[in-house]
Symmetry: D2
Subunit: 291 residues, 4 copies
């Protein structure tokens, strides 16, 4: 399939690589051109403008936040102006539900099609085609994109025909992950200050009740304080909790644990954690314990 | 092996049954005698006093809280007075670290031996011999008890030679479980109020990032509001969070998520949740959201 | 002085009345015309458009939130288009710092002048000319408006020459007031459930350590559950905590008590408290205590 | 009146001095004898044992915590054993409601009388006879002690005939004070990081809505970071929040703001704040904000 791909950070590059490996014809665009070289070597056609990437029946976007995606879509020389009639825009960025709704409406008004397809998984999973894809939008469009989802992911979940629902699911999932980090951080602060071995405690947990990579990996990162380089940077985590809280606020859903996470991320950023992995919020309990 | 067993609530009865099935000679005592009938039918010898249960080289206790265990051990006609010299008391109750320390000292002073061996798992796992056993105490004593742990559990983790360390690990594990309940409760409150299907959301989570029984089971209980009958009753959950916070307070370890859980449990009890499963704290976010 | 006044809710009407009493020539505009009748009887000239209210050397705005003020200022037939060159816009609404910055810039770009002058005090204080005025902006403009501030307030505090600083001070003050409500709510829940007399407890507090109207008034509202009619409605309180948190987020300042208040307000709104006084958040502790 | 006084820390010494000034005959005992010299010079009779201090119709105790008071009262050579029949013990320590109940019962059983009369005020107020006394117990006993309360305080509030009620009121009051500290700490962290002058912000607040010494004094301590020497040390503040939470737990009253304060105090102690004034918890928001 002919596919445009805009946004080649660590996640986007991995996804694009998986699409190439699956035999799709890829046209890629990134604001910072240096990042696309490895993809060019794998056979991607590199173009210097959104306009050219837009000349494909399907175009993926994978950008860091709402502002970046808005700039790409609604900019003067943006995607919405250059997509062909009937073309399909698949948005994999983790964005807020308000923007997702707005994108769905704007595309429909312009006679273009829009799917939200955010993904779960760290960059290594993106590169290996092992993401979990959470898709929402018109059934026909989902069907057309299925082969692409199969290339980037190990499984696709179709949530509903409203794109913003996929974004809400993604934000809720990231909230759950951050909750794992916080709970492990507090438990490890306690265990560590009591003089027990944190690594053995984690081994016990993850070979019994919590026998799942999420606990194993985040537990290790926290216990070893291995927060650099960031697999998923703290400012992105902060943004996701903010977006989850905004979605909850609109619906009048209080989420005290999400509020706690919000404060943790702000503390982390205030203490200079901009470049750390978001799991560094799991170290704050230890710091507060004077550990 | 000849084993005494004191405390035959849902967990204790399951563990005693597993010991019988493994061929051990069991003498059982429970304050409420009616509960021991099924065990008698399986071959246990039922005795009417702690003193008689104490006449065994190894005696398990599995009681609901610190006060109950203190009464059994230190009472005028209690275990400590009736254990034979050198006999081994294995305490599987979820108790506080302070009491565990005190028990270790008291037994040593009296020339008796003491192990803490709290367990992870719900009553069904106890009955099936599928618990996770967390043991701490003198290595020799752990070795002697290993065959018994093998009968009740699928795996034994030896933490250290200080009994209270096993209790701290158990309390930390229960904190992590309660954190799962709270985080799922908040996410499901959001997902539900947004009009998405809670069951499908859980299916997505538990067939991707959270593919582990803890999330599957607690998620289902919360989504279906299936809080009766209680597998683990709310007052016990409240007690465990209290004990975790007490252990943390002694070490000056602030645990804001544990504090949130503390308030949640008090709310649940204040609203009449005494008889509900502790996962009912996961319904409070929905209630606060007016859902 | 000739003064335009836009926004005649309970606060605005009281302020406008005070200006009239002090002898100022008032031209008033409100979207809902019925509300301006009492002011007309006191001598205000009522006009049917923002444009006409804008034809004054000084124009006050007192609106409920950011969106309302934006509509009045930036609308096609809005204030900015109709203010005379050099005219002064005094914004008394409780708005966010981002909007305040934007207003300052827009007015400067257009050659108009802008002051932020939010106020502390309930509607009765507004009607009595007893508000506390928190002003920020160019010193000359503050000087010109001083006579007007003297009419509406018992005291004026000049914060700085950056209008948004006055808004930040106002938001911080409202946060402190909401914190009083929450703390009283929790203490009264405890005192009440212990069977003590809540009124006498408050009398004790407010004739000793907390001998100040804020504690006396909010304490009484909470103890008597006198939340209707609202002096300051819950949705406005929720908005103010949101704006305080947004300001704090931009600066990476975690405010866990503000986060708690945020969740309290959402709970209040979710339970149908839209029309209650914001002090009704002080009743939630009692509700959670099953009281 | 002949009065015994046990416990001459900063608060107790001030109270004893006020009693002497009012003409009462004082017999004083302190575990650390050096502290009683200034009182001896003012005319107090210094005795070397609790037993001798107990030989008075009225005996005050003013000790730092539950354990200290228990040791004094229930010790082998303690107060309860040496008080004369019918003598009155006035307990001014800030203790838990459970201990207060137990003291009331023990004294009644022994034919002695017991009043709880905790006080509000810092050491300077104690020395000046300007405390607020919160008394509870049998009306007759309160009447007898009134002249003594008049000597130490500016006002006496009689709560009920159950001593523990006075302790609950005292704990609730200290919770409210700590809430003031936290709220000021968060507001000042925000104001300070925004570049505004913290002192002027406080001046504004305390000459308008919060015109009361509590806000003025704690605000100044926090803004100036003047936490040494401690007027009321952090470990005592931590203890009081713990006792308030324990009282609330017994009644199933969740108090999330008290939980936040609990975590704040633990953080302060973990970071080495043992010797700081309890208002140092108001500096933690600034620290978390990287300020």
């Amino acid at each position: 399939m002919k596919v445009g791909f805009i946004g080649l950070g660590r996640m986007g590059a991995g996804m694009a690589g998986s699409l190439l490996r699956a035999g799709h014809e890829l046209t890629v665009y990134n604001r910072t051109p240096s990042k696309v070289r490895p993809l060019a070597e794998q056979g991607a056609r590199v173009v210097p403008s959104i306009a050219e990437a837009a000349k494909n029946p399907v175009v993926f976007t994978m950008l860091s936040d709402d502002a970046a995606l808005e700039a790409v879509v609604f900019g003067d020389d943006g995607l919405l102006r250059h997509l062909a009639p009937g073309a399909l825009h698949v948005s994999s960025s983790t964005i807020g539900v308000v923007l997702s709704e707005r994108l769905a409406l704007s595309h429909a008004d312009a006679g273009r099609r829009f799917l939200a397809a955010p993904v779960f998984g760290r960059p290594e999973a993106a590169a290996a085609g092992k993401l979990f894809v959470v898709a929402a939008g018109a059934a026909g469009a989902v069907g057309e994109a299925q082969a692409l989802f199969d290339a980037i992911g190990q499984k696709t979940f179709v949530v509903s025909d409203r794109p913003q629902d996929a974004n809400l699911v993604k934000l809720s999932g990231n909230f759950l992950l951050a909750a794992v980090v916080e709970s492990l951080g507090e438990a490890l602060a306690l265990i560590g200050k009591a003089g027990l071995d944190r690594g053995r405690f984690l081994e016990l947990l993850t070979s019994s009740l919590f026998d799942v990579p999420v606990y194993r990996n985040y537990g290790r990162l926290i216990a070893e304080r291995a927060f650099e380089p960031a697999g998923f940077a703290a400012p992105l985590g902060q943004k996701d909790i903010r977006l989850a809280l905004e979605a909850a606020e609109r619906l009048h859903v209080p989420m005290p644990l999400a509020s706690l996470l919000r404060d943790r991320f702000l503390t982390l950023l205030a203490r200079g954690g901009e470049r750390l992995d978001w799991s560094a919020v799991g170290d704050l309990a230890r710091q507060d314990a004077g550990g």
